[in-house]
């Protein structure tokens, strides 16, 4: 291992981390702007041209804000919780390929930090760590609202992680590898979204729950639990939770783009590898807009229904998706996968709507 390689890693890591931090700052602005446009408002436009300095103003405000720790809180865990939440969010993208190989000053550089052969496993493992931060934050705050938020989130994340993990299996089966680079390369002729329409759906719903986004923003549930697990947090500690949530949004969008939407592949990417990261960014922004759009449109689903939805609807569908994908791969007839999975989805929707109607017609709570 040469020192040059180590420097390359360090520089790439820094680029990813700072890219994510900047992305987080501007995602907040993007979200506020997009929400405002949907809601016939203008959104932030005072700080800098088009409000572009708004994230800076927010950061300055949060840094200089007084940090309060409730007197009866468990101080060590209270301080540790936001850190546990934010670090997995920052390192999750380490295995993601941002582009092919580019030539710079006569040397070849690959546009990814590491090509881990168990990349997908790494992502699922790291993604589940942050739930500890949230639960501990809820517990350590010594606040009942925070406690309820923490408990809700642990239950929610554990339930949805299963569906999330199962939806990863589709691309893995199609590729025959767990390496993210392999998955992207296999999608060069055709994106996996074609073979995995149900997989994308399950992944997307589970992701929304995983990153606590509307309509699954149970742990925060502003209208019910004031601010959920971070009720007692202020200043930079609060900002860390906020940061974790938004960075995870970026991360899961990037993962979705990589697993199902061809990663960095798009037009002319063969000829100019430098276009790879740009295409990936475009796909991520499109997916992020989807998340924001959903938030602007849908009411929040109730907590007990969320659990029922996760276990009774999403989980069986994810299993069906794995089964039909495996079947298609074994038989060598990939076109079977979308057909069968869509049939499974329609059957599931029919069954759910039947049971819903029955529930509402029954004169009980």
């Amino acid at each position: 291992m040469t020192s040059g390689l180590i420097w390359e890693w360090i520089i790439k890591s820094l680029v990813i981390v700072f890219g994510l931090l900047t992305g987080f700052a501007y995602l907040t602005l993007f979200e506020r702007k997009a929400l405002a446009r949907i809601q016939v408002r203008i959104g932030p436009n005072r700080a800098g041209p088009l409000g572009l300095l708004q994230p800076v103003a927010d950061a300055v405000k949060l840094i200089f804000k007084e940090e309060l720790i409730p007197s009866k809180a468990d101080k060590i865990i209270f301080i540790l919780a936001p850190i546990i939440t934010v670090i997995p969010a920052l390192i999750i993208l380490a295995v993601l390929p941002f582009g092919g190989v580019i030539t710079l000053f006569g040397k070849q550089y690959s546009l990814s930090l590491v090509d881990l052969n168990v990349g997908v496993l790494y992502i699922t493992a790291v993604a589940s760590i942050s739930v500890y931060g949230i639960v501990l934050a809820g517990w350590a705050s010594n606040n009942k609202y925070a406690m309820l938020g923490g408990i809700r989130s642990s239950a929610q994340m554990i339930s949805y992680e299963l569906a999330l993990g199962l939806s990863f299996i589709g691309p893995i089966l199609l590729t025959g590898s767990m390496s993210m680079t392999d998955i992207v390369e296999t999608q060069k002729p055709l994106w996996f979204v074609v073979y995995q329409p149900l997989g994308v759906l399950v992944f997307w719903i589970a992701t929304l729950a995983e990153v606590n986004r509307a309509p699954f923003d149970m742990p925060e549930a502003e209208q019910e639990l004031t601010a959920g697990y971070h009720t007692e947090y202020s200043g930079m500690k609060f900002a860390l939770f906020f940061m974790a949530e938004y960075i995870k949004m970026i991360a899961v969008s990037a993962i979705a783009a990589t697993m199902f939407f061809g990663g960095y592949h798009f037009f002319w990417e063969d000829k100019y590898p430098i276009l790879g990261p740009i295409w990936l960014l475009a796909k991520v922004v499109a997916l992020l807009f989807g998340m924001i759009w959903i938030r602007a449109t849908l009411p929040r689903i109730r907590y007990d229904r969320l659990m029922a939805f996760g276990w009774k609807f999403l989980f069986p569908l994810a299993l069906a998706n794995v089964f039909f994908t495996a079947l298609g791969v074994i038989l060598g007839k990939l076109w079977l996968i979308p057909v069968l999975t869509m049939v499974a989805l329609l059957v599931a929707i029919y069954l759910v709507s039947m049971s819903q109607t029955r529930r509402w017609n029954k004169n009980v709570l």
């Binding site: 010594n142 209208q223 449109t297 009411p299 109730r302």
Partner: protein
């Protein structure tokens, strides 16, 4: 954890309201409000929870007590009208109307037909505005945040009309004993007609977002069922009563201000749940539009204020030329008018239910006693009944569906 243990002072004076388990510390006592985003002002709810299930819900009111009833006793009849706006700040015109109706009943004052029609238009516009705030906040409580801003966009149109009429967006006191403060400006007709033209499409827009949205149905169907018998027993009025299947609306039952001339329906529903109350209120907005349309089309020309100089100040123009007018003006604005001794009760259908005012005169220029029968106060009583057995998440939907205005509750 320490805070989960029940301390003595936490249950001080309320231990008879919570269950045995709460005293033993087996259930969680949670304070919701008075500073909470979903309690629509400063309502405090003491919740007894088993997990997230509400076992007991004890509303605690009085955080917005303003002493308006008592204060009104210190003002002359006409000047006290200004305070009525501050009770239910989403139904300001309706508050003015019921107060003026009571005075008019007390002194048997005539109201010109034009003023009657304009009062109906203003009150119905106010009803729509109030329902828009209800819809927006109700949807926001369920986290459908865009609906809130769409509703406020339309409410803005109504507030513009009210500003045009009374010079103030919310608390204009444009309804006075004997008619209106002054005639509406010439652009009024056109502006209201524009509103009538655009608003049906906007209602459809809200309905597109909510009425058949599975997530919205999930949050409102079979939530907070209030049976017909319970509703009557608790004295509930307004959309909540009508959603429980009782077609009781003071505009039909005891028409005032010429409501008997207009053709409109009272929407009712039999499901008695939060969704039924949503449907009833949405339909009420449409019916209000019908009433406004008719009132606008049939609105006669003429005076907008009674000519009874003993009770109604003369127009400004007369003061310069008529000595009598000057004396009336002076007397009315210094001493005020003196109604005969007696007590009256007048009631109107506010957006929240029966809004009544009891007025007692002891033969002085100031009311001896003013008592308000406010719908929010009465309707809030059923919240514990509705909430029992539901989840905390449903509680915010229930506060929204009861549609309380804390200014109206505490007064």
């Amino acid at each position: 954890m320490e805070s989960f243990e029940v301390t003595e002072n936490m249950l001080d004076g309320i231990s008879h309201l919570v269950s045995e388990q709460a005293i033993k510390g087996e259930t969680v006592l949670l304070n919701m409000g008075p500073q909470h985003p979903s309690t629509h002002g400063v309502l405090r709810l003491l919740l007894e929870l088993d997990g997230e299930q509400v076992i007991n819900c004890i509303p605690d009111i009085g955080f917005l007590h303003t002493g308006i009833e008592k204060n009104m006793e210190a003002k002359t009849y006409e000047k006290a009208a200004v305070m009525t706006d501050r009770l239910d700040y989403l139904n300001t015109v309706g508050n003015n109307l019921v107060y003026c109706l009571a005075i008019e009943k007390l002194i048997d004052l005539d109201v010109p037909p034009r003023a009657q029609a304009l009062r109906v238009i203003l009150v119905e516009l106010q009803r729509i505005a109030s329902h828009l705030v209800w819809l927006g906040t109700h949807a926001l409580d369920l986290a459908a945040m865009s609906v809130f801003l769409y509703c406020f966009r339309e409410r803005e149109l109504i507030l513009d009309i009210l500003e045009m009429v009374g010079g103030q967006r919310m608390m204009a006191t444009c309804i006075r004993p004997g008619g209106l403060w002054r005639d509406v400006p010439p652009a009024f007709d056109e502006t209201v007609r524009y509103f009538l033209k655009v608003f049906p499409a906007r209602i459809k827009e809200y309905e597109d977002m909510l009425t058949k949205n599975p997530l919205f149905l999930e949050r409102t169907k079979k939530i907070g069922i209030l049976s017909k018998e319970d509703a009557i027993r608790w004295g509930i009025t307004g959309p909540i009563l009508r959603a429980s299947g009782v077609a009781h609306d003071l505009r039909k039952v005891k028409p005032y201000s010429g409501y008997e001339q207009y053709d409109f329906e009272i929407p009712t529903h039999t499901d008695s749940d939060t969704y039924a109350r949503y449907l009833v209120r949405m339909e009420e907005m449409r019916q209000s539009l019908r009433i406004i349309q008719q009132a606008l089309d049939t609105c006669p020309e003429g005076a907008v204020r009674s000519n009874d100089r003993k009770y109604v100040p003369p127009p400004r123009a007369e003061i310069g030329v008529s000595m009598e007018a000057l004396i009336h003006h002076f007397k009315l604005w210094t001493e005020g008018f003196i109604p005969p001794k007696g007590a009256v009760y007048a009631a109107v259908e506010s957006p929240r239910g029966e809004l009544g005012v009891y007025l007692e005169s002891d033969g002085s220029p100031k009311p001896y006693r003013v008592h308000w029968r406010t719908p929010s106060f009465v309707n809030l009583q059923v919240l514990p009944l509705l909430a029992k057995g539901h989840l905390v998440a449903d509680l915010v939907a229930l506060i929204g569906t009861v549609d309380v205005v804390l200014g109206d509750v505490d007064r």
